[in-house]
């Protein structure tokens, strides 16, 4: 048993933490989030060139740092602690994850450009009706000569406004909710027949509704085997789920720290409100929620390479627990801040909003509890 980080991993964390502390304070984050672009291309370039973190989970042969899921976890936790809006999750964790899983020379080339900061991807997996059922797809891709024709509507595609490429799930066969017949495609965002409606999200990010109207794609747009993408999607979304669990631990640590700071300096009835036992106990409960979340996130990260069933069980355990923690820690932070917590001006409200969005991203608490139950009870029966 060993829970210690390697020297390289510690260095990765420290370097990124120092960069963010110097160059990504809350004021800067709000300015970037509210700018027309909604992200900072310069920061993204710095992530690529100065810090090299866009290569964190890729092999050295691919031009990366030779890390994996643990490196993603470290990066995401730090990004969470500063509410970073740049698309590491969409591009490195998810885009990189899909390309690594589907493989091939074209994939390696794209990974190289992701590491270099030139390619930004967004993952168009969800549909308006489908909730957290990744196979429930109305978007279709039909063979057309050597290529494909894509039709459909993808919902709330995070980071699509910043993306150069979309990774799109579509049905190439089977019925609307069948496990078979799901394929993945790489689509350049400017391609004909692809249109987007871009908007800000409540947690300070950007997203798009993406529409495909007879968008014709070349044959090599298909990623991996035709009709067999669902296991890839499940794996990559599990990796992404663990990554936002890590982000959540960064977010929640900040919620807890900022709340304790506030409670120590806020005076009512002649003393600091941190003196009141009822608030002390609530802050203790917040602390315990954060620590349990850190533990399960680490556990799930380390189990990403186990069998599908083990991996899914671990991820759902982590996400359901982290979802509950996000709600409790976020709501408690606002309550203890009182009116000040309700304002747009303090950072705490923005952390609360991100924590709230993480709760349902890639599946609600109930969704993950149900998946855990299925794997843990039904499979054994």
């Amino acid at each position: 048993m060993d829970f210690s980080y390697t020297e390289t991993q510690t260095m990765l964390r420290d370097t990124l933490a120092r960069y963010l502390s110097d160059r990504y304070d809350h004021e800067t984050r709000m300015k970037v989030s509210r700018s027309d672009a909604g992200w900072s291309a310069a920061t993204w370039k710095a992530f690529a060139d100065e810090l090299g973190i866009l290569g964190a989970p890729f092999t050295e042969a691919q031009g990366g740092l030779g890390g994996g899921a643990l490196e993603n976890m470290i990066v995401m936790e730090e990004l969470g602690s500063r509410l970073v809006v740049e698309p590491y999750l969409s591009t490195v964790v998810i885009g990189g994850g899909v390309l690594r899983a589907t493989g091939g020379a074209a994939a390696d080339d794209l990974i190289g450009r992701i590491i270099g900061g030139e390619v930004v991807t967004a993952f168009a997996y969800a549909e308006p009706h489908g909730r957290y059922d990744w196979a429930d797809l109305k978007t279709t891709a039909k063979k057309d000569g050597a290529g494909w024709v894509l039709n459909g509507h993808k919902a709330v595609v995070r980071d699509a406004p910043h993306a150069t490429h979309l990774i799109v799930s579509a049905r190439t066969g089977g019925g609307q909710r069948d496990r078979d017949g799901v394929s993945l495609f790489l689509v350049e965002k400017g391609a004909r027949g692809v249109s987007t409606r871009d908007y800000p999200t409540v947690d300070g990010g950007r997203a798009s509704e993406v529409y495909f109207e007879n968008a014709s794609l070349p044959a090599d747009a298909l990623l991996g085997a035709e009709g067999a993408a669902l296991p890839v999607i499940e794996r990559v979304i599990d990796e992404a789920t663990v990554a936002i669990c890590a982000e959540a631990t960064g977010v929640m640590r900040q919620l807890h720290l900022q709340t304790m700071d506030y409670a120590k300096q806020r005076k009512q009835f002649g003393r600091a409100i941190s003196d009141f036992q009822v608030l002390q106990h609530r802050m203790v409960d917040m602390f315990m929620e954060v620590e349990q979340s850190v533990s399960l996130t680490l556990m799930a990260t380390l189990k990403l390479e186990e069998s599908d069933a083990e991996r899914m069980k671990a991820v759902s355990a982590a996400k359901s627990r982290v979802g509950k923690a996000c709600r409790f820690v976020g709501q408690s932070a606002i309550q203890i801040h009182g009116g000040m917590g309700m304002t747009d001006e303090l950072a705490v409200g923005h952390y609360f909003k991100r924590a709230t969005m993480i709760e349902n991203q890639f599946g609600s608490i109930d969704h993950h509890l149900a998946r855990y139950e299925r794997l843990s009870f039904d499979a054994a029966a």
Binding site: R34, D203, D366
Partner: protein, 395 residues
Amino acid sequence: MDLQFSPEDIAFRDEVRAFIADNYPAGLRGKGGREDLSKEDILSWHRILARKGWVAPAWPKEYGGTGWNAVQRYIFSEELARAETTPILPFGIAMVGPVIYTFGTPEQKAKFLPGILSGDDWWCQGYSEPGAGSDLASLRTRAERDGDHYIVNGQKTWTTLAQHADWGFFLVRTDPAAKPQEGISFLLIDMKSPGVTVRPIITLGGEHEVNEVWLENVRVPVENRIYEENKGWTCAKFLLAHERTGIAGVARSKRGVERLRDIAASEVDQGQPLIQNPFFKRKIAELEIDLTSLEYTELRSLASTAAGKGPGPESSLLKIKGSEIQQRITELALEAVGHYGAPYFRGFGGDNEHGIGPDYAQRAAPTYFNMRKTTIYGGSNEIQRNIIAKMVLGL
């Protein structure tokens, strides 16, 4: 014991229901629960009720009340909530009005009550200060006597809808040497007076609902003081008891649960309506049961008010449970809308006219954020528990 309303009560309910159906502005239908209503949205229904003589049912008849009994008043507020009408703002009708007719001079009553009833005067409440929230009596805004005026200096905060206000009622310190509760006076301040500055506070959902109010050498005629100098805390305590009535928000929560059920019936989960999901269904069931228990707790409290025992400190229970239920409804609504909880509709760029995703999803997140205030305002739920511990349980 009888759980039913009398035939007279039912007839009264039908009359109210018919009046609302015939008179509520069509353009405001479905907007009653929103946090982003305009001044005109809020005032138009107020004026309609004022013309009918129904805008201040709790006031004594001689001042413009309806003469209804407690059960009728309850039915009336239930019907308003059921129809999701725009709310009648409490600051004039429920707060300062009763203070004025209870403690005011005949001149003050004649000057202020008509504008409160008609809606011509918009009122705001100057209580909280940056350093005086839960501990309201520690307020520091000063009023110093200068002939027949007070000179007022200080800062108030969380002043709801002060951006529209013509008048404000303020708690100010007139005797800095006295014990905290004993040196406070209750002043009515014309918000257009020189030295009054209202600055917006933008809240989590992006709304401009609350403000800071700065008072710099504001001259207030002594005749605008209600009740005796240094006895303002008496008015404040009286007003707090009034603020409690209806604080449980049962009827509006019932509408909220209905809306939640509609959302859950429209949303799809694993090929089925979400409302068939046993986990989600169970949560709605628990919510409904808790709401029913709150409703009957409120009815018991209403019965004791009708019997002349007046709302006591047990109304803190209604505030705590009522606010928790309001928050749970918004939590479940946000959960129900899935991916479409994320888009943000206010602010910069883009097309804010046509929402992203289903209509019912569009305010799910901002409403969830906004409703966090309910366990903070009006005496935080921690303070309410202290009140129950001390005043009800004698601990």
